[in-house]
Amino acid sequence: MRGPTTFRQYLRNVWDGFFTTLIGMRITGRYLLQKPITVQYPDERMPIPDRYRGIHYLEQEKCINCLACARACPIDCIEMDAIRHGKELEWVSFTLDYQKCMFCELCVYPCPKDCIHMSTEYTLVSTDRSEFVHDLLSFKGMARDARVRMREAEKKKAEKVAAKKAVAAPAPAAGTEGAKPEEAQEAAAEPAAADAEAGADLSGDEEAQA
């Protein structure tokens, strides 16, 4: 511990106290006259870099529902559901719970099709908790081209079946063969219903975007 203050120290304290205060005032005074560096937030905004980890967006056409992102997520906030029709997918949901999400970007990298990304959008404000569960799907059901592809596949299949039928004209076992056209009909009806639904969804989305 220190000893008693000498007179020299006493004067030095007085001088230091006064002088360092002036130095400090010079620095703060200089900034007083400079232009502030902050921006007035809602009017001006800072530029957001490209790699910003904001709200996700999904390139749904590419997505194959492989669950890689959901598995990579440390807090299991991604949930997806789709019905598979052969190679094509009929989307039911792809939700991301932003109450849990910590924007770690771990879901982006394992994606084999590079279809989930993080956007520069960051505003997540709501008065209702349920609104934090975002559905990333841009449309529900099947994509138009997927539907076309599927119809073509169906057609081909039906043609094949028909060709087969034609080849093996005298049916040995009508019971099993007879079931097939019915199935095909059902499958054809289903996309039609989904089509109407998806159409409505799409138009709704476009409106929302506008």
Partner: protein, 369 residues
């Protein structure tokens, strides 16, 4: 002393004959108090806005920018409205009476001090011969209010704040008074108006601070002690927000809290006024000098000073005081806070002896020259 338009002569000619004398006195008093309250409230709001702007720009940001349009000038008004609308809270276990009285006492004492102040050479509420004594005495009363608030809050942090305030103010009353002795000695009067008039001359620059070389250290000492008196950084220990949460104000909210707030800014302004009068020329400045030349004859009585001259003098004094307030703010946003024992050391071991030395030296100087 016979000087011009006291406030209590405001209604003299206006009141009809049938109004009894006491009613005139009461109503003039009421008008005076209303004027003063309005003045202090507006001043506090302006100072709060200024503080925000100064601190903001010092810290490379803007401060309030939205409310009211131009640089958020109405921000304080909005805040005042918000504070008025807040719930009136008295904590359980608090001493209700003291808790309620304390903020009133604090603000009242500052009002009391301002009563003795001349705002222009001809406009004041009371002209007291020992004006500066009255002002110092009244402003010291705030301490009692603060201690009351701290004790009544029934909070440990408040108690700490109150104890610190008591110790600090007692310590700094001494250097404050002693450093004021120097200009009092040079001016030779306790009256603020006379002290101000003393400094006329030298093209309005015959300020007391230039009249004696030891006035400059005395001014610095006075300013430092005044900072401690008004609980401003670096002496804001009673409220020390990083240590004591909010010190004696911890349990206060709403209007009562705003009383403490107003008191702080009114006290800053008061101390700056005192410094302006006793060190920095009072009403005097080149502008006042020119205004006097232009509007006032050589022999005009104080009673009928022309309005334009009064206005110039008032604005000059006001500007000087505001500059003092600004420097206080500048210091606050520059310096860290002292520790309580250092505050005591500084008060008793540094400021008091230095102030005494100043008095001695200045007195010697006055005696010789």
């Amino acid at each position: 002393m016979e000087h011009g338009n006291y406030v209590h002569s405001l209604l003299d000619g206006v009141a009809p004959d049938w109004v009894p004398g006491w009613a005139v006195v009461v109503s003039t008093a009421a008008v005076g108090v209303a004027l003063l309250i309005a003045f202090v409230a507006v001043l506090a709001m302006f100072s709060v806005w200024l503080e925000r702007k100064v601190s903001g720009h010092i810290q490379c940001r803007y401060g309030p920018m939205y409310v009211g349009g131009w640089h958020g000038w109405a921000q304080s008004l909005a805040d005042a409205l918000k504070l008025l609308m807040k719930e009136d809270l008295v904590p359980i276990g608090a001493d209700r009476v003291l808790f309620v009285v304390a903020p009133a006492l604090v603000l009242g004492s500052i009002f009391g001090a301002l009563v003795a102040f001349p705002f222009t050479p001809g406009f004041f509420f009371a002209d007291i011969d020992l004006g500066i004594f009255f002002i110092l005495g009244m402003s010291a009363l705030t301490t009692i209010g603060v201690v009351m608030a701290g004790w009544a809050s029934n909070s440990k942090w408040s108690l700490y704040g109150a104890m610190r305030e008591a110790a600090q103010v007692v310590a700094y009353e001494i250097p404050l008074g002693i450093s004021l002795l120097v200009p009092l000695m040079v001016a030779g009067t306790f009256n603020l108006l006379e002290a101000s008039q003393m400094q006329a001359g030298w093209f309005g620059m015959k300020w007391l601070v230039f009249q004696n070389p030891f006035m400059i250290p005395a001014a610095i000492l006075f300013f430092t002690a005044a900072l401690a008196e008004t609980k401003r950084a670096p002496f804001d220990l009673p409220e020390a927000e990083s240590e004591l949460v909010a010190g004696f104000m911890t349990e206060y909210s709403g209007l009562r809290w705003s009383f403490f707030f107003m008191e702080e800014y009114a006290a800053m302004f008061l101390m700056s006024l005192v410094a302006a009068v006793f060190f920095f020329g009072g009403f005097e400045s080149p502008f006042t000098h020119l205004a006097q030349r232009a509007f006032v004859g050589e022999t005009a009585a104080v009673a009928d000073l022309p309005l334009l001259y009064q206005l110039t003098a008032g604005v000059v004094l006001f500007a000087k005081a505001l500059f003092g307030v600004f420097v206080m703010m500048w210091l606050r946003w520059t310096l860290p806070r002292l520790r309580i024992d250092q505050v005591m050391t500084m008060g008793y071991k540094y400021l008091t002896p230095l102030a005494l030395a100043c008095v001695l030296a200045a007195g010697t100087w006055e005696a010789i020259f």
